[in-house]
């Protein structure tokens, strides 16, 4: 589930340098092809239908919200909620395989009307803000809010997980109420992304102790509109561990169509799907792959939305703990022995996963190169040849290869929380066994597993990463990165990284990243197994929802439910709103 359940993610994770995030069970992080989303939308909505007002959308998520605030949000769920609660200078979207930043004319979530590069080497960005936007408490949103937000993120006392945003920012200055200037240390591709943090209200937090910002009263009790936000919805009610009720922010334009969005916490995947089928919830994410056929049998009532292959799973080989892994050819042989398409078929994942070739999933249109980076074929004969050429043979007839008296025997770690990976590790064990390789399996609790990975205290490990939308590979493969879990070192690759990072624009940098990726694939420090889609299920009641790279919550103000399908919306008076049909209001569907 969940990309590492607590890692920064989604919209804000995209753009930043290699937001690579450890996957736990079913990854949450999402992205999708916009065409796909559009077609799904058209199919679900009935094209050209006019949105109708009112109604309550109920969403089922597997974890609760933690920190609904741009400075300190933590989990994927928090990241999703940022899309609903806070505006930023620009709004990122994934269009045709590239990240694009929208301004106010294209997205009501963008604060800036326009921006321009300035300074001698274009190392500064000047943003011009809209003048007509207000916080949910009615105060105007100004350039000073932007300045304060970046100051607070930079302040070490905040200990903000977003500090990497400000790494290359020298200063942020408000020229006047509606103009803000970002001065960067140098021109680089991610300037727009790094100035795109969600903006927090200065007037609420400026007197707070930043070291204790996480327990600020507005965050401990954000409901009844106490949390001051700028997005289409604010928090109306929060029963922790149970549900969060979002109600429209009266100062957001355009006003949302829905009366309420209820986000319910349902940890168990099966229960989430039953609630979708009984009509108690309208959106479930993510759907475990083995449950997809059941939902497909539901016909038109439920549509499945696909968040495109931005996660991959891999087997990492740690040469420091098992010497034979130091040889790239041996690692290649281990990969050749695995029948990845067969694994995908066996686990009924073939429609939602693609055999992987390297560090860039196919959604990176400019980086994924199917010609240069092909998945390893399943070729046991070739694998045998390689191992024999390297001196591995079964000299004592015990069925296990050996060399210099040492058997080819290692332990493959994986995290216990992920049933899919447990299955894959068992299949891999069997397929290696045919070659005379003896892999012992061990499952660990996630935290322990992660610590062992980063501490490089393992021989081989089956894990997964959710990939950020930036091409930066250094976080996983840089010589100093703690997430270089196999301690990969190749001077040629490091030189390519340095060249890529020195480029002013993404276009210039991409060819270096691509070359570095190709070299990495040659070295096979991992066996890349498959790129995975996340699948979400949406009830046909809920229209206008756009699920793409930016997550499922990116256009909540456009969601709507046809009047005939609206459930009675409970109000304080206990009556349904005037525009909902009396039958739906009166039935009160207690037993659902």
């Amino acid at each position: 589930m969940i990309a590492h359940p607590f890692s920064p993610r989604a919209p804000h994770g995209w753009a930043r340098p290699a937001a690579l995030v450890l996957l736990l069970l079913l990854a949450l992080a999402g992205c999708r092809d916009p065409d796909d989303a559009r077609s799904a939308q058209a199919a679900g909505d009935g094209e050209g239908a006019t949105p109708e007002r009112g109604g309550v959308a109920v969403l089922a998520e597997h974890i609760d919200i933690n920190q609904p605030m741009p400075l300190v949000f933590e989990s994927n769920m928090d990241g999703d909620l940022q899309d609903v609660l806070y505006m930023a200078l620009t709004r990122g979207v994934w269009r045709d395989g590239r990240l694009v930043y929208l301004l106010a004319d294209e997205s009501p979530m963008a604060l800036a009307e326009r921006y321009e590069y300035a300074g001698p080497d274009s190392a500064a960005l000047v943003y011009h803000l809209r003048g007509d936007v207000r916080w949910s408490d009615g105060q105007p949103i100004t350039a000073h809010d932007v300045v304060w937000t970046y100051q607070a993120v930079r302040d070490p006392r905040t200990a903000s997980p977003r500090q990497d945003y400000v790494e290359h920012i020298d200063s942020v200055v408000a020229r006047d109420d509606s103009t803000v200037v970002f001065h960067f240390a140098h021109r680089y591709p991610e300037m727009l992304s790094h100035s795109g943090l969600g903006i927090a209200p200065r007037h609420v937090y400026q007197d707070a102790d930043l070291a204790q910002i996480r327990s600020h009263p507005t965050l401990v009790n954000p409901d009844q509109g106490r949390l001051v936000v700028s997005g289409p919805f604010q928090i109306g009610r929060w029963d922790q561990g149970q549900q969060m009720v979002l109600v429209p922010n009266p100062h957001f334009r355009p006003q949302p169509h829905l009366d309420q969005i209820v986000i319910r916490v349902i940890p168990e995947a099966t229960t989430r799907l039953v609630e979708l089928q009984t009509g108690a919830v309208d959106l479930v994410r993510p759907v475990p792959h083995d449950q997809i056929p059941t939902l497909q049998a539901q016909g038109e009532r439920i549509r499945l939305e696909r968040e495109e292959k931005r996660q991959y799973e891999f087997i990492a080989y740690n040469p420091a703990a098992f010497a034979p892994f130091a040889d790239a050819e041996v690692r290649r042989a281990l990969g050749l022995a695995l029948d990845v398409p067969g694994i995908l078929r066996a686990l009924q994942m073939q429609d939602y996963a693609l055999p992987a070739a390297g560090p860039y999933p196919p959604i990176f249109r400019d980086l994924y190169d199917p010609e240069r980076m092909r998945p390893l074929p399943h070729d046991t004969a070739r694998a045998r040849q390689i191992l024999a050429a390297k001196g591995w043979r079964d000299s004592d007839g015990d069925g296990v290869l050996d060399k210099d008296g040492r058997p080819f025997r290692f332990t493959l770690l994986t995290s216990a929380a992920n049933p899919r990976r447990a299955d894959v590790s068992q299949i891999a064990q069997q397929q290696w066994k045919r070659l005379g390789i003896d892999a012992r399996l061990q499952q660990l609790e996630f935290n322990t597993f992660f610590e062992r990975l980063v501490g490089r205290e393992y021989q081989a490990a089956l894990g997964g990463w959710a990939v950020g939308l930036s091409p930066d590979l250094t976080e996983l493969w840089g010589e100093d990165s703690p997430f270089n879990i196999v301690d990969y070192r190749n001077p040629e690759v490091s030189a390519l990284f340095r060249q890529a990072l020195a480029q002013p624009t993404e276009e210039a940098a991409n060819r270096y990243w691509q070359a570095a990726a190709a070299r990495l694939v040659q070295d096979q420090p991992y066996t890349w197994l498959y790129y995975l889609d996340q699948v979400d299920a949406v009830s046909n009641r809920l229209r206008g929802i756009k699920i793409d790279t930016y997550g499922a919550y990116q256009n909540t103000w456009e969601w709507w439910i046809p009047e005939a399908l609206q459930r009675g919306t409970p109000t304080r008076a206990g009556a349904a709103p005037a525009d909902s049909p009396p039958s739906a209001a009166a039935s009160g569907d207690t037993a659902r």
């Binding site: 890692s7 690579l20 996480r214 327990s215 149970q242 319910r264 229960t271 108690a280």
Partner: protein, 327 residues
């Protein structure tokens, strides 16, 4: 009696402190760290260090222990690292959620279990006895999570699809917008939401209680004083419920003492499957997140309930058995 209670309660204090101290060091020595969830390529080690300082995790373990003990003894459970709010604010709500679930299922366990046990004992070797034995053993041997999923499948999903007169909600404590309903409708809504989780939680244990009840009842029914009671012309109901049942209750009371704490901590699976926001889920999440203060607070509650459960059992013994009172 009062002196006995006081003695037992005072004796529990060092026991609880010992348990908590042990738990404190075990959770702190377990691999992982509350800041581990921030561990990602985007977060610099200095940021993690600052978070540790903000949470007071940079101090030596014994200093942390003394600090924790001090605030604990003054009734302050501290802040939850995971939810960043005072545990004193968090715990009562969650505890109440769990209590609603577990008390209902406790009643179910004992009322249902005892009734079945009595029927079986009174009609020993009858068709009813054999049938009930079979059913009881079936439910007793089914894992809770499987039962829970089957209940959801049949009484929520299929009930709706097949158009049964009533279907139950598969998750949560109340329906969306329940807070705006009139009080009686809110209560009914809660009852409807309680049915499946309470049944899933209780039915296996009820089967267990039934087996105990049957055995213990059979033993009593064949005693001389029961024959005497019948001989002096008492009605069968009076013989069974007044004379036999009271004497057959002792082993069942032992079970009650054992089940009380189990119901608080043992509801983890049921709470997860039915999305019931109770103690079980809170504890598991706290452990996974290494939310030390919350782990300590929830452990305290459970340890206290264990002690209390045993105390209640002892008091009940005394109530039903004059011989124990005399001692």
């Amino acid at each position: 009696m009062l002196a006995f209670l006081l003695r037992r309660l005072l004796g529990a204090v060092p026991l609880l402190l010992g348990i908590l101290t042990l738990i404190f060091f075990i959770v702190h020595l377990a691999p992982g760290d509350p800041t581990a969830r921030f561990y990602s390529p985007n977060v610099a080690p200095e940021v993690i260090e600052q978070m540790r300082r903000n949470l007071g995790l940079d101090q030596p373990l014994h200093v942390q222990y003394v600090k924790w003990l001090k605030s604990f003894l003054t009734g302050d459970f501290g802040y939850s690292f995971g939810q960043m709010r005072p545990i004193g604010e968090l715990l009562p709500g969650v505890l109440w959620n769990t209590l609603q679930l577990t008390l209902v299922s406790l009643v179910l366990i004992f009322v249902l279990g005892m009734l079945i046990g009595i029927v079986q004992a009174v009609r020993q070797y009858s068709l009813a006895d054999n049938l009930l034995t079979f059913v009881a053993l079936f439910f007793y041997s089914m894992p809770t999570f499987w039962l829970a999923l089957m209940f959801i499948l049949f009484f929520s999903l299929k009930a709706q699809q097949w158009g049964w007169p009533i279907s139950f909600p598969a998750s949560g404590m109340s329906r969306v917008g329940a807070e705006f309903l009139p009080l009686h409708a809110q209560l009914w809504d809660r009852v409807v939401h309680l049915v499946l989780p309470a049944a899933a939680l209780g039915i296996g244990s009820a089967a267990g209680v039934a087996r105990y009840m049957r055995g213990s009842m059979l033993e009593v029914i064949h005693q001389d004083y029961i024959r005497t009671a019948r001989a002096k012309g008492l009605g069968e109901a009076r013989v069974i419920f007044r004379h036999a049942l009271k004497n057959a209750l002792l082993p069942v009371i032992t079970l009650l003492g054992l089940y009380l704490p189990f119901l608080l901590s043992g509801a983890v699976l049921v709470e997860t499957i039915f999305a019931w926001p109770g103690m079980g889920r809170l504890i598991v999440d706290a452990i996974f997140q290494r939310d030390y203060p919350l782990v300590m607070a929830t452990s305290f509650v459970i340890a206290a309930v264990v002690v209390l459960g045993n105390l209640v059992a002892d008091v009940l013994y005394a109530l039903v058995d004059p011989r124990i009172r005399a001692e």
